[in-house]
Amino acid sequence: MTFALAALKLDLMESGDLKKAKTRLIYISLFAAFSAIAFQATGCRDSRGRGTGPLPPPPPQEQARLSDYHPEKAFSQISSELATRAVFAVEPTAKDPYHVEVQDVIVAPGKEASIPVQGAATFEVRAGGGSATIGARSHELGTGSTFIVPEGEPLKIVAKGDAPMTLRAYVVRGP
């Protein structure tokens, strides 16, 4: 289009005929309009990356239309701040009277949860951080921390920070 406008300018300089130039300007404008329409029609539009900022925040949970997705190995919510799931369990037999279970635990961020432990357990922090109170003793926890809970001892976990705390528990219960 630059070439055509340059030609028009040349034309004005040479002829000085403003009326003819105006006619040609209309002529060129028509071509420009045609070309714009043609580009749109043929899909030759480059809109790379426009509008790719974050999406609007989701509506509140109670108003959100939830998808039909359901986890294959879902956590069950025990209380507002705690969810657990059994990953693996071995039931006791006459020959081997121990109940063994592997559990995952989620504690909501900024919350304290009493963890029901049916037996002696070894815990491993898989994600997040916080503290554990076992009986009267407290320990700070971070990702990768491990700790032991004797059978019968109460366990409280506080999840600190913005992220939930995820733990894996290996629980053994005797006859």
Partner: protein, 540 residues
């Protein structure tokens, strides 16, 4: 010249200008390389019916072409993806032949080598990267003529077992322009031998960049792992460019091994970008230097390392080859180099200036302290996050292990696509999440995603082509929990976020797995190949 002469002159000028623009437009709708371009964005930036959510549901198969049944030593199926130029579809097959098809009809235009000639096969066959022509081609110009370049094994050279080399053919006729020297050596067939070379180009698709062709070298199914390399050849002649040298371990001449370059090389500016495979393979000591399991930026002229990002230390190397290759994104927060590692973590790095020094990590997902350390609860094994992602503005769409990666193990994400807000704050990192329908969830469930203006195309292992719309274009199917193991109804109270589950616009059953292939989006059409030996063209 009088004023009366000008109208015809102007008409001619404008006509030529329009023709030029339309020709350019047509060309920009093409797909010249694996993942579309040298930055490996997998993004068709120009609008077409494929980016119109109202038209996508009308997608239907317009033609199907089936490759000839392989002869002795060949393996049926397309592991490569098509590239498109001048309405011609170019693709290599596991049978050892390279084909050019009419984009309108699927009619065969030419093949290489001729049907009467031996196919391009290797005698060392142990996994699909070793079957015939496994990597995708690239389109370029050589001495002013359109050319297509691809990698393949060739038993006519070396020890006649099937060393890998590059081939450049005239794009119109299939006539040979050049054949490179041996690039990946195969000097014996003894499984596990450490005295033979078992190198392979495999899945690494060549890329043309600034008068050179770059391609990665890995191995034949880790038997044993070989020294990873990147080789550059001169575009005009196919001769090895001697000034460029990159080897992943030790020196290029020593016996250390590992760091295979399985994925495509990306290129941008004065650099090429790669990801590398593992190095720990039974040897008692770590090679030095060890550039395995890394995402790297190399000087395109010399191969010297500008930066290296190595999240998994050698001691934790359980074979999480970084095979997806790097994507170089131009975003609102600068140039970002991004990829998902085989262990399920996606890492985004700020590219930084082209001078040697450590890269700046923008983020990892799931969020984690890098480098990983023994005892941190993470596992880095031979899992299957092998596919590169697709970039669209500030959005990156890819496979990822998900927020439950550490808790539930790596397998859960094999059928799942995550979209990430690359430049956003951590809390807004996850844009959307979907379990792709008709993906089985086993090791190889998904192919490579491609994208055009927010519409994502992906193939599955059950032979479905699935099309997904970014929620900015089409309202989502609903909201789901950012942690895939937490039911939607309890998500927020447990501290996770609800994120959109995008709408599926189309889900079309084809024949054959599409786990090695990307749906190519060119000229308003989808071209996709499957391991059932078919190439399909679909359009709305």
């Amino acid at each position: 010249m009088t004023s009366k002469d000008h109208p015809p002159l102007m008409t001619l000028s404008i006509g030529m200008l329009l023709l030029f623009c339309f020709a350019s437009c047509e060309r920009e709708q093409e797909w010249h390389s694996f993942h579309h371009d040298s930055r490996r964005t997998s993004n068709q930036p120009n609008s077409s019916a494929l980016s119109d959510p109202a038209k996508v549901p009308g997608l239907a198969v317009r033609w199907t072409w089936t490759a000839p049944t392989p002869g002795p030593g060949g393996q049926a199926g397309f592991r490569a993806s098509p590239v498109i130029h001048d309405n011609i579809v170019y693709i290599g097959n596991g049978n050892g032949y390279f084909y050019a098809l009419n984009g309108d009809t699927g009619a065969l235009l030419w093949q290489y080598p001729a049907a009467s000639s031996p196919p391009l096969l290797t005698q060392f066959q142990c996994n699909p990267s070793s079957y015939g022509i496994a990597s995708s081609a690239t389109i370029t110009k050589i001495k002013g003529n359109d050319a297509v370049i691809f990698a393949a094994p060739d038993q006519s050279i070396g020890m006649h077992l099937g060393d890998s080399r590059l081939f450049a053919l005239d794009a119109k006729t299939g006539a040979e322009i050049w054949k490179s020297p041996v690039i990946a050596r195969l000097t014996g067939l003894t499984f596990g031998s450490k005295t033979e070379f078992h190198e392979n180009i495999g899945y690494s698709s060549p890329i043309v960049f600034k008068n050179h062709v770059y391609v990665g070298v890995a191995d034949h199914c880790d038997s044993p792992i070989q020294k990873g390399r990147v080789v550059a050849v001169k575009l005009e002649t196919g001769a090895i460019a001697p000034a460029f040298s990159y080897c992943s371990t030790g020196t290029c001449a020593d016996s250390t091994r590992g760091g295979g370059v399985w994925g495509p090389v990306a290129a941008e500016g004065d650099s090429v970008y790669i990801t590398t495979g593992n190095t720990k393979s039974g040897d008692p000591t770590e090679p030095s230097p060890n550039n395995g399991l890394s995402m790297m930026k190399l000087n395109r002229s010399t191969g010297a390392i500008t930066w290296k990002f190595q999240p998994v230390p050698w001691i934790m190397d359980g074979d999480p080859d970084w095979a997806a290759g790097a994507t170089v994104m131009s975003t609102s927060c600068g140039k970002v180099v991004i990829s998902t590692m085989k262990d399920g973590w996606t890492h985004a790095l700020d590219d930084g200036p082209p001078v040697p020094g450590p890269p700046s990590r923008r983020w990892s997902y799931p969020s984690v302290t890098i480098p990983f350390t023994p005892g941190d609860g993470t596992v880095h094994g031979d899992t299957r996050y092998l596919r590169g992602g697709a970039a669209w503005g500030d959005v990156y769409v890819a496979m990822n292990g998900g927020l439950n990666l550490i808790t539930s193990g790596a397998a859960g994400g094999f059928k799942r696509l995550h979209a990430f807000n690359v430049c956003a704050a951590e809390a807004d990192r996850l844009r959307w999440l979907i379990d792709v329908p008709n993906a089985s969830g086993t090791d190889y469930s998904l192919g490579y995603p491609t994208i055009t203006n927010g519409i994502v195309y992906i193939g599955t292992d059950t032979g479905h082509l699935v099309v997904i719309a970014d929620p900015s274009l089409v309202p989502p199917a609903g909201f789901r929990c950012s942690n895939p193991d937490v039911p939607n109804a309890t998500c927020v109270s447990l501290g996770y976020k609800l994120v959109p589950q995008p709408a599926v616009l189309a889900n079309i059953a084809l024949s054959g797995r599409m786990v090695y292939n990307e749906p190519v989006l060119a000229n308003g059409r989808v071209y996709v190949a499957t391991d059932a030996n078919n190439v399909y063209m679909l359009s709305p």
